[in-house]
């Protein structure tokens, strides 16, 4: 896998950190996509895999789950072809093809007359419901793809869960994301309808290191190194001979969790309590037994949890044992902010997203370890879904899901 060199110097910045739902491993580090970084940092559209997955999160993001509204398999293939054509154009840039007097302008004009190249990343995934009886795809379902279950600390709202397809967009600027969303929905209106949508953003480093979540803690430091191809093959990508259907090679499992943070309540909690809940110092991000964000916590030296409580988030999420090493995930989370609740509280939180080879071995194992952790008093997962990120679009003739439907 080829990633820009800029990613490489970030590798060091990557070993510890408070991941809200994971505590995983290595970081997305600084903020390669934001603030003046050239737009060319995003990976090319064509490839065996959707390289928007390992790409560092950009500043602006939209996550939209769609339901397919056509009935026949050929129409579903047509929808995916259209989606491919739009994604290819939106990521590659150029001048929209004029239509003369035969229709309204082909583009919203939000980005001006000509779209920039390499300014947008698109990730397309499919949900378990796509493999129901409608399209005769049951036998081709990725083996580990099922509807997201309700976990004990969840309070799921059906309108914010699941979907036949998911489209994740991220870019340096919100107008790029919204332009793409309008273009995609416009061209697919008869074939799919948005089921739920949540926009997210990624914060700049404050003042350095991993971006903070809206609880004020550095969040998502410890991600696996996306430039380590062998590690990615062990943790993220579905390979051949893994028991998955042949078409699925090059895909990955996407787990999305919409997590409301009760920020008013959180702001009324003492700093000591906040830090013991996460297991990290708020300002520096260092584990409570260390001095620096990237120090590795020494759980063996603290067996009773005198320094880092046994139920601290980072300790439950990633115990850093040999047994949990293969259970790590690639986190791609964003903050979200969507107005007010009915009682006047601010509605904001985390648009958690992660990628893995096996959601049971990875995400769910972490989730079970986190069950009942003290942090659950301050957060409420209310939506999300499990999806399978399709293999990449190889070339100009290929399309999302061709291996599945072609």
């Amino acid at each position: 896998m080829t990633l820009p060199d800029r990613r490489r110097f970030l590798r060091g910045a990557a070993l510890a950190g408070a991941g809200l739902a994971t505590g995983g491993a290595a970081a997305t580090g600084g903020h390669p996509g934001g603030q003046g970084a050239p737009a060319t940092g995003l990976p090319p559209f064509h490839g065996d895999r959707q390289l928007s997955v390992p790409a560092a999160p950009r500043r602006a993001s939209a996550f939209v789950a769609f339901d397919v509204t056509v009935d026949r398999r050929a129409e579903l293939a047509g929808l995916l072809r259209t989606l491919t054509a739009r994604a290819r154009f939106l990521t590659s840039g150029g001048t929209p093809d004029p239509v003369g007097i035969t229709g309204p302008p082909p583009d919203s004009g939000v980005l001006g007359g000509r779209l920039p190249a390499g300014a947008l990343a698109v990730t397309v995934s499919v949900g378990a419901s796509l493999f129901d009886e409608r399209f005769g795809l049951a036998a081709l379902r990725p083996r580990r793809l099922r509807p997201m279950p309700a976990f004990p600390d969840d309070d799921l709202r059906p309108d914010w869960c699941h979907g036949d397809l998911s489209v994740h967009l991220h870019a340096d600027d919100p107008d790029t994301v919204l332009h793409a969303l309008r273009d995609i929905t416009r061209h697919t209106r008869g074939g799919m309808q948005a089921r739920w949508r949540l926009d997210g953003f990624s914060s700049p480093p404050r003042p350095s290191g991993t971006p903070r979540n809206l609880m004020g803690f550095k969040d998502g430091t410890a991600n696996p190194d996306v430039t380590d191809a062998r590690l990615m093959d062990r943790l993220v990508w579905v390979g051949r001979g893994s028991g998955e259907p042949g078409w699925a090679a090059g895909g990955t499992y996407q787990v999305v969790r919409l997590i409301r943070m009760l920020v008013e309540f959180w702001d009324r909690v003492s700093l000591t309590e906040q830090e013991r809940i996460f297991g990290r110092q708020r300002e520096s991000g260092a584990p409570l037994d260390g001095d620096d964000e990237h120090d590795t916590p020494d759980y063996a030296g603290d067996p009773k949890g005198d320094v880092i409580p046994l139920d601290a988030h980072i300790r439950r999420a990633n115990p850093r044992t040999a047994a949990t090493e293969s259970g790590r995930i690639l986190r791609r989370a964003y903050n979200y902010d969507r107005g007010m609740d009915s009682n006047g509280n601010l509605d904001m939180g985390l648009l958690f997203c992660c990628y893995q080879q096996d959601p049971v071995r990875q995400f769910e194992a972490i989730q079970h370890r986190l069950a009942g952790e003290p942090l659950t008093d301050y957060v409420t997962p209310f939506g999300g879904g499990y999806f399978f990120t399709l293999p990449g679009v190889r070339d100009a003739a290929d399309w999302y899901g061709r291996g599945l439907l072609g």
Binding site: T69, G100, T102
Partner: protein, 399 residues
């Protein structure tokens, strides 16, 4: 809201342009001075060609024909506004247009050219059209095009449509009369039964976006913008009566609104017979009736208690079909996706019919998620397609 035909639109343009003419000419001269080549490649984006628009020099400057997406910078060097069409001089198919280019100003027109012959047609505001020299491009695939529709083309379908609407208004008068009679005799159950057919008959006429002007506000307005909302004395017409019938109002309080409705509908019918419909509205109606449906019916915004939004949507579909039927001869040779549009119209009809259970219709809020999404998809797809009908049937002056 779009009320205007092209006449109003060019008036508006003039309002903007005329006072600024002098300034614009000065600026244009400055720009002219800077651009020494008539054709240039910008650093990013398609190539530009600077072309002159004037009665004597229409199309001058297009010396370097090439295929692909490109921009013509159309500079109006004359002293009056002009429309410009890029067309195939053989078939008269239009590949691009720029309307109302002010004197002394430059307008960019982006087109895709492929193998074929082209010419610019310059149509000054108050003079005959002038055809520029024919230019040939020897390769490439050209963009979509259609022969312009003129006001002349639209008059026969507009007359036919107007006649159909007149008949529909007669029927509306009759049905609202029956509604009023039920209210007058205090039979509110019968009034509720009579309300829906009367309202649907009116909705079938496609009164979207002020097609009937101020009369529609009296007949079918909502309480939007009224200081006292549903209790405002200016809240009148079908929805006022609906609100009362489904919110337990007494018959005597509904007599005046019901009588007012009959009077307003009758007045509209009589006025309609005296006036001629602007042919330019036909294409807009084909598109905007269902835009209205998406905005007001699928959201339930206009539901004042009867729960008949999807019945209204179904009536609006009928209304759209009536317009399309009359435009069909013009569209058949111009709109390549017409068969797809007609297929989707049929699909929408059977989908909506499925939400009728005897005399009762499912409310939008009661739809299952799958039905809701299907409805939004089908109607959403239709308005995307119908938008092309409006742009194709926008009347253009070609001579």
């Amino acid at each position: 809201m779009r009320l205007a035909g092209p006449g109003v639109r060019s008036l508006r343009l003039w309002g903007v342009c005329a006072p600024a003419v002098v300034l614009v000419i000065v600026v244009a001269l400055l720009v002219l001075g800077r651009t020494s080549h008539s054709s240039r490649n910008t650093a990013a984006g398609p190539p530009h060609t600077l072309v002159e628009v004037s009665p004597g020099r229409c199309g001058r400057g297009w010396d370097d024909p090439r295929p692909g997406v490109q921009v013509f910078d159309l500079r109006n060097t004359s002293d009056q506004a002009a429309d410009v069409y890029l067309e195939d001089p053989g078939s008269r198919a239009v590949y691009g247009e720029a309307e109302g280019i002010g004197p002394g100003t430059t307008r960019a027109l982006t087109v895709r050219l492929g193998k074929g012959a082209y010419a610019l047609r310059c149509v000054p505001e108050d003079a005959d059209a002038v055809m520029g020299p024919t230019v040939r491009v020897d390769r490439g695939v050209r963009g979509p095009a259609a022969v312009a529709v003129t006001v002349h083309d639209l008059i026969p379908p507009a007359i036919a449509y107007q006649k159909w609407v007149a008949g529909g208004l007669d029927e509306t008068v009759r049905l609202t009369g029956a509604l009023r009679a039920a209210v007058d005799r205090g039979d509110l159950a019968a009034a509720r039964r009579a309300w829906l057919p009367a309202h649907l008959q009116y909705e079938r006429l496609g009164a979207a976006y002020d097609a009937f002007g101020a009369a529609d506000r009296r007949i079918n307005g909502t309480d939007a913008g009224l200081p006292r909302g549903v209790h405002d004395p200016s809240f009148t017409g079908f929805h006022r009566v609906e609100y009362g019938l489904w919110h337990g109002e007494a018959a005597r309080t509904l007599r005046a609104p019901a009588a007012g409705l009959v009077k307003a509908v009758t007045t509209l019918r009589d006025d309609w017979a005296q006036n001629r419909m602007d042919p330019a509205q036909l294409g807009l109606r084909a598109h905007e009736i269902l835009e209205n449906t998406v905005q007001f019916e699928l959201t339930g915004r206009t539901d004042y208690g009867s729960g008949s939004s999807l019945a209204t949507a179904r009536a609006n579909l009928d209304g759209t079909r009536e317009v399309l039927t009359r435009l069909r001869p013009l569209l058949a040779t111009r709109y390549a996706q017409l068969p797809g549009l007609e297929r989707e119209m049929n699909g929408a009809q059977s989908l909506l019919d499925g939400f009728r259970h005897g005399g009762r219709w499912t409310r939008p809020a009661e739809l299952s998620r799958a039905d809701r999404e299907k409805t939004d998809a089908v109607l959403g797809d239709l308005v995307e397609r119908l938008a092309s009908v409006a742009t194709l049937c926008d009347p253009r002056r070609t001579s």
